[in-house]
Amino acid sequence: MSNEILERQSLYSQTSSQRVPGLIVSSTLAFATLAAPLSLNNLPTYIPPNVSSELIGKFFAIEQENVDKQKLLYTIRSYSTYEKNWDGYEGVPPKNKTISDTTHFLKHLPDNIKLPYAGLSGDGEINLFWDKDSIYIDIGFLGNNKFSYYARDNSGKEISGDDIVISDTLPTELINLIKTISI
């Protein structure tokens, strides 16, 4: 288990065991009303005053990542409202399965990475893009439980893959490249 997960658990356990004045954090909750049903993960969090500033800083970074991921998921889910010819070039909306494949993939990305931005193509493909630090990655989902990708690192070296079955394990060279992008 990573240090960050342990620290997060430590923070939460302190929260539940102490009854002293502190700070209530509700940034995730604010977006949760738009992005996802309310769940235990989205409840406001109480931070006691004796927690170090370093740990609080890490907590906020994790919270921000959660908020950014919720926003991204919200964008992807919003594609289901698109109608035929949405782009003026006879574009088609994505299938529900395309949305679920993309969100499944996103949820299995490791923590502490630069999150991608999403795009919808006129052919119904949902894409996740990274384009930073001279690194470019385009991952596409068509709702067939598979994805394809094209990527270029900052030296111009290209990697690609087609018809890769979506699973909990992502291609190592792709994940390694994503991890090199600064947050």
Binding site: Y82, E83, N85, W86, D87, G88, Y89, G91, Y117, G119, L120, S121, G122, D123, E125, N127, F129, D131, Y136, D138, G140, S148, Y149, Y150, E158, S160, G161, D162
Partner: protein, 155 residues
């Protein structure tokens, strides 16, 4: 809001597209534009490159009224959508995009439609894999010159 009908017919549009002809594609915010204001590669559908063709208009022949109507219809389809601008690219630049074997990957064909004789399509020359099409569309998007107004696009 109902869509505006447009029936515009232009005669005397040549079937052969010259190498120095400029092609126009319309882009919308937020669907086609990333957080830094650049055109997303998803603005070029891979399937269109492969089979149906990516729609463009030939600058020398397209009617301003046709483009305006097209924009009006697209914007009306979704509340938060608005015009981001026009992507301009020369036929010759399209032909300069190469595949992994350093061969010309794309070509442009005249494809007149009932209300737009200046319609053309950009197509892949070979049956590329989806990952290869992703590379081609990225190269294509990077070569579009963006302008904001229809006057600039048609000047």
């Amino acid at each position: 809001m109902s869509e505006v009908e447009s029936i515009i017919t232009i005669s005397s549009v040549p079937g052969v597209i010259e190498k120095d002809e400029i092609l126009i594609r319309i882009f919308y915010h937020p669907d086609h534009i990333d957080e830094l204001g650049n055109i997303k590669a998803s603005a070029i559908p891979s399937d269109d490159l492969k089979s149906r063709g990516v729609s463009v208009d030939r600058k020398s022949y397209v009617e301003k009224r046709y483009i305006e109507t097209n924009i009006q219809n697209s914007v009306a389809r979704k509340e938060e959508r608005n015009l981001a601008g026009f992507g301009l690219i020369s036929h010759e630049t399209v032909l300069g995009i190469l595949d992994v074997k350093n061969s010309t990957a794309l070509h442009v064909k005249s494809d007149p439609i009932s209300n737009n004789q200046a319609h053309a399509i950009i197509l892949a020359k070979n049956n590329y894999l989806r990952s290869e099409l992703k590379k081609l569309r990225k190269d294509l998007v990077d070569k579009f010159k963006s302008v904001k107004s229809i006057e600039e696009a048609l000047s």
